[in-house]
């Protein structure tokens, strides 16, 4: 039996409203089937299943808002033992529980009565002295037991004055509210929460490299001459492909930081899409490294309008392993990103513009792009980041190999 849980669709998601069950009890499920629609700050998301089996029981009613990790349904996979839904488990960031956030939103999500909480005597003492509710803590000690460090972290989190103001408006806002202003507000709060978390917890380091884009732009221009207007490429498709290749060479940046560096097997690049009404959505281009430049362009053509219409699938929101933000034409020269937790890096492309560029003792005017990397210093050091930018540059100088 598999417990199918409310997936975590990003660092900024804490709860979702189950809007509609798309499968009924007794129905046969296949990997990739849409099982339900869930409303989040990012709109109505189609939730996919990642296992095969029969839908045994629905545990959450339509219209109910539940926290991430809540068991939504039981899927009978023919095995007697109960296991948790596998896939997002590997890809989805482990849920970090911040006592304050939880107290506000999910008072009922405490550990069930009778379940023994593993906690060291010292941790229990500190918790009692500081009135910390240990049932809300996630243990990092042996067998998930709560240790002194977990309690101390909870206390210091609780003291942070920034947390409440950032969270509160979000919590009081009904996410299922339809008006555009409410959606935009929820979106703003979601971005605020994720970026506050990033800035608070991740020690960023920044690197920058100016890259000659003449060969890449010539390649795109030539490629577009042969393509009908609907299939034409934007330079960003080539940039995304080059980033995927460079990540393949420097896998420490295609990872998450969760009790240490966890490299990811797939390269799923999240691409920042800005919304006209304000806010951003970061859908993933799944398996970017195995896609051609044309396939990446097709994926963008499909993803951007759906992201703007708030119509993404759960895998597209939960499985990115690295992020790209690109300013595009007519914008700023450089962009320094904030990492999307628990990822460990984000690349920023400024506007591609003509600049004086010196090479081999000659000065010329060339299209160049200023590329920045923000990376998590807990996970990697500048040498790794620098190696990544060098690899990226090398690929952009040889676009025909991409």
């Amino acid at each position: 039996m598999i417990k199918f849980q409310m997936p975590n669709l990003g660092a900024d998601m804490e709860a979702g409203t189950l809007v509609e069950w798309r499968k009924q009890t007794g129905e046969l499920l296949h990997r990739g089937d849409i099982i339900a629609d869930v409303e989040t700050q990012k709109g109505l998301i189609e939730i996919e299943v990642f296992e095969e089996g029969t839908l045994e029981k629905l545990l959450v009613k339509e219209g109910e808002k539940v926290p991430v990790g809540t068991v939504l349904a039981l899927i009978n996979d023919g095995k007697a033992e109960v296991s948790e839904s596998t896939i997002p488990a590997e890809e989805v960031p482990k849920q970090e529980i911040h006592p304050i956030e939880d107290r506000v939103e999910t008072p009922h999500e405490k550990i069930e009565e009778g379940e023994r909480i593993k906690i060291s005597p010292l941790a229990r003492k500190i918790a009692e002295a500081n009135q910390v509710d240990i049932s809300l803590l996630k243990g990092t000690g042996p067998e998930g037991s709560i240790v002194k460090k977990d309690v101390e972290e909870a206390i210091s989190e609780g003291e942070k004055p920034t947390q409440e103001p950032v969270k509160k408006p979000d919590e009081t806002k009904e996410i299922s509210a339809k008006p555009a202003t409410a959606n935009a507000n929820a979106m703003r709060m979601a971005v605020a929460a994720a970026m506050s978390k990033s800035n608070r917890e991740i020690p960023h380091y920044y690197l920058e490299k100016r890259m000659d884009m003449s060969k890449a732009m010539d390649w795109v221009k030539e490629a577009n001459k042969e393509r009908p207007i609907q299939k034409r490429l934007l330079p960003v498709a080539l940039l995304i492909k080059a980033v995927a290749k460079a990540l393949d060479e420097v896998p420490d940046l295609n990872a998450t930081w969760e009790n240490g560096l966890q490299r990811k097997n797939e390269i799923n690049i999240g691409f920042v899409v800005s919304l006209r009404s304000g806010g951003i959505v970061v859908p993933a281009i799944l398996q970017t490294d195995s896609k051609t430049v044309d396939e990446i362009m097709e994926t963008i053509n499909d993803l951007i309008p759906r992201a703007r219409a708030f119509k993404l699938r759960s895998s597209e929101l939960s499985q990115s392993t690295f992020t790209i933000t690109s300013i595009g034409e007519g914008g700023a020269d450089k962009v320094f990103g904030l990492i999307y937790p628990p990822q460990v890096g984000i690349v920023g492309f400024g506007e591609i513009s003509e600049q004086p560029f010196a090479e081999d003792g000659m000065l010329g005017i060339r299209p160049v792009v200023d590329v920045t990397l923000a990376a998590d210093h807990r996970a990697t050091d500048g040498l790794i980041g620098s190696r990544f930018l060098a690899a990226l540059n090398r690929y952009l100088q040889n676009p025909e190999e991409l």
Partner: protein, 82 residues
């Protein structure tokens, strides 16, 4: 297709991309993308949709002629008449 009809189609398509704006208030030589806050992706979508709607081919090297209303309308008129 008359000049007026082309203009109307252009405004319609621009408004579909930037719904909260009023493209008919664009000045003839104002940069369309800047004025309506249209990004690279939407700019390409606009060119695709206008080429489909008016049944004209717009090669990439002509994208520069689509930057403001005056040059865009002149360009499209010439293309449509061909």
């Amino acid at each position: 297709m008359t000049e007026e009809e082309i203009k109307k189609t252009v405004f319609q398509l621009l408004q579909r991309i930037a719904p909260e704006t009023d493209p008919s208030r664009l000045m003839p030589e104002e940069n369309i993308r800047e004025a309506l806050n249209i990004d690279s992706f939407d700019a390409l979508q606009f060119i695709v949709s206008i080429s489909e709607k008016l049944n004209v081919d717009i090669p990439e090297e002509d994208y520069g002629k689509t930057s403001n209303l005056k040059s865009l309308l002149a360009y499209l008129e010439k293309k449509v008449k061909k």
